[in-house]
């Protein structure tokens, strides 16, 4: 019994202090996956903010955009043109979603909207498979100008190893989260988006066009998805199994609140770092593979203490 307690509460910390360079390495890896989780969750937040809909198709949008990009490059297009065309495809997708799903279903209940996004994800799986085939593809990292290789740093009499790809992913994610965070809190379009989420009729009465806002939001979510797809695809493969990473967005959203862009970032980091630390220092004693569930445990713990998440909009109700 004492042995178990020692293994949980003492052992890991001794290990951390004995090999600080290893700790830094683990933290860095947690940080990188954290920023990528934040990026995935960001796509959900954008759509949730503007329409209070949990978009089940977000994971597929990540895969679909990445598949389109890889597919176009495989067809022999230069990478820059393929990238540009993929952005175009995401725009067309945003307009089609607005025309065929959002507009006909305006003012329908939330569950109807959720079902519609599930339908959209089925469609994108089928359509993507039909055009690009079902087999996993690899992201042509070099063609896209994403750095590869790695760098070594000495810290605490040891070394840490930083993959250039990870660094690029983290920087890109940071830039996107910051830009969109400012965009949606400080600009006219950002305010319009929150207004639409709050009250359709009032938004219409001040001249905000719902259609335009929806297209902007879905397009932005598509671009965020594409960015996620490129970096995640580069770390593994581009295939439909990638969509399950979207599930990792859930604990991030629970932590950060469904409506907060800074929240998404902090939530992503907590989940990413928490998961890596746990796996490395505690998970090995439990047989490993804890990444599959630790994120959800962390989210559950937070739910007990802060049901609105760390940054969720305060639910204000006058009684």
């Amino acid at each position: 019994m004492l042995d178990i307690l020692h293994k949980i509460f003492v052992g890991p910390f001794i290990e951390m202090s004995h090999a600080p360079d290893l700790l830094v390495q683990v933290l860095w890896e947690g940080f990188v996956s954290g920023t990528l989780y934040a990026l995935i969750a960001l796509g959900f937040v954008l759509i949730y903010k503007a329409s209070s809909v949990f978009n089940f198709a977000q994971g597929i949008m990540v895969v679909f955009s990445a598949l389109t990009l890889v597919g176009l490059i495989e067809m022999g297009l230069p990478a820059w043109l393929a990238l540009l065309m993929t952005v175009g495809v995401m725009y067309v997708l945003a307009v089609s979603v607005e025309r065929t799903i959002l507009l006909p279903l305006v003012n329908q209940s939330q569950s109807t909207m959720i079902m519609a996004t599930i339908g959209l994800s089925s469609f994108l799986i089928g359509f993507g498979g039909f055009i690009f085939g079902g087999e996993p593809k690899s992201m042509p990292v070099a063609l896209l100008g994403i750095p590869t290789g790695s760098m070594q740093f000495s810290v605490f009499n040891g070394h840490i190893n930083i993959q250039n790809l990870d660094l690029a992913a983290a920087v890109m994610a940071l830039v996107m989260v910051t830009t969109l965070g400012i965009f949606f809190s400080k600009t006219r379009i950002g305010r319009a988006l929150r207004a639409v989420a709050d009250d359709h009729q009032a938004a219409l009465s001040v001249g905000i066009t719902l259609k335009q806002i929806w297209v902007i939001v879905w397009f932005t979510a598509g671009i965020v998805g594409l960015t996620t797809g490129i970096f995640w695809g580069a770390r593994s493969d581009v295939s439909f199994s990638l969509q399950i990473i979207a599930l990792k967005a859930l604990p991030v959203l629970i932590l950060g609140g469904f409506t907060s862009i800074p929240g998404v970032f902090i939530g992503g980091l907590i989940i990413g770092i928490g998961e890596q630390l746990f796996e490395y220092y505690w998970g090995v004693q439990m047989g490993g593979g804890t990444q599959g569930w630790v994120a959800y445990m962390i989210a559950l713990l937070f739910l007990w203490v802060m049901p609105q998440g760390l940054f969720g909009e305060k639910i204000i109700e006058r009684i």
């Binding site: 305010r191 929150r194 009250d199 219409l204 001040v206």
Partner: protein, 269 residues
């Protein structure tokens, strides 16, 4: 029966023979009236008379079954909300439709939507033209905040404000669009005497200083008689009277509608 004093001015807006029904319920059964530039036009009547439905037709939330709306000389069979807003019609709502999670300032800023034109590109960086535009519009909004005496709640999320102040913020959002015509749906419901006096003062000031034409739905007869230039009275989807306050006060049909002598109905003034 339009008021002889105003005949020389052409109407800013005219509704002609508007019919509106929802399924089997006839909300408006052929109502016509006009609104002259610069006047305060009240629309009164018992609950369920079709007053709010009429405002919704004017700003495009409802599409009438028949009839037409003429605004600034153009005749429409129905209006789109965006068209109404961009042509200069702003409104407030019976149940206060503010953006509850946003601050007073941000709520009023949304009223500037149609005055802001910079493209998405600049917005993405919150820089250059987008920033200048934001500052210029912010200055206008600050004037409105001063005008409505709500400086102290500038950064408060509106969901936390008492009802009276929420109504004031909503008026601010509508005024921020610098509208030609302002539709106010019961701007004083649920207010105490002092709050009503403040609100009346703001409405009069908007009308006199900014030259805004005002269409006012209100149940407080004292307020209506004091503020309005002309009054339309509706009952059960029909227009039963139209004229200056003095005439309306003594109109038999109006008294009957409110006191319920011709048909059993509760007076709801």
């Amino acid at each position: 029966m339009s008021n002889p004093e105003n005949v020389k001015n052409p109407p800013l807006l005219r509704v002609d023979d508007i019919v509106l029904s929802f399924g089997g319920i006839h909300a408006i059964k052929g109502v016509s009236f006009d609104i002259i530039k610069g006047e305060i036009r009240a629309v009164i009547g018992p609950n369920g008379a079709g007053k709010t439905a009429m405002l919704n037709v004017i700003n495009g939330f409802y599409k009438p079954d028949s009839g037409s709306i003429t605004f600034k000389g153009t005749t429409y069979s129905s209006v789109k909300p965006h068209t109404a807003a961009s042509e200069g019609i702003a409104r407030t709502f019976q149940n206060v439709a503010l953006f509850h999670g946003m601050s007073t300032l941000d709520n009023i800023m949304t009223g500037r939507t149609l005055k802001m034109k910079t493209s998405l590109f600049w917005h993405l960086f919150h820089w250059g033209p987008a920033e200048n535009e934001e500052l210029a519009n912010r200055a206008v909004v600050e004037e409105i905040i001063d005008f409505l005496e709500i400086q102290h709640i500038r950064h408060t999320p509106v969901g936390k404000l008492p009802f009276g102040l929420q109504k004031r913020v909503e008026l601010g959002r509508a005024l921020a669009a610098e509208p030609l015509m302002l539709l106010l749906d019961e701007p004083m419901s649920g207010m105490n005497v002092e709050e009503k006096e403040d609100m009346s003062r703001f409405i009069l000031n908007a009308n006199e200083q900014l030259g805004t034409t005002i269409v006012l739905i209100e149940h407080d007869m004292g307020v209506v008689m004091d503020l309005s230039d002309r009054i339309v009275v509706m009952d059960r989807g029909l227009k039963i009277a139209d004229g200056i306050p003095e005439k309306i006060k003594t109109n038999k049909a109006v008294i009957d509608a409110y006191l319920g002598t011709t048909h059993q109905e509760h007076a709801s003034a």
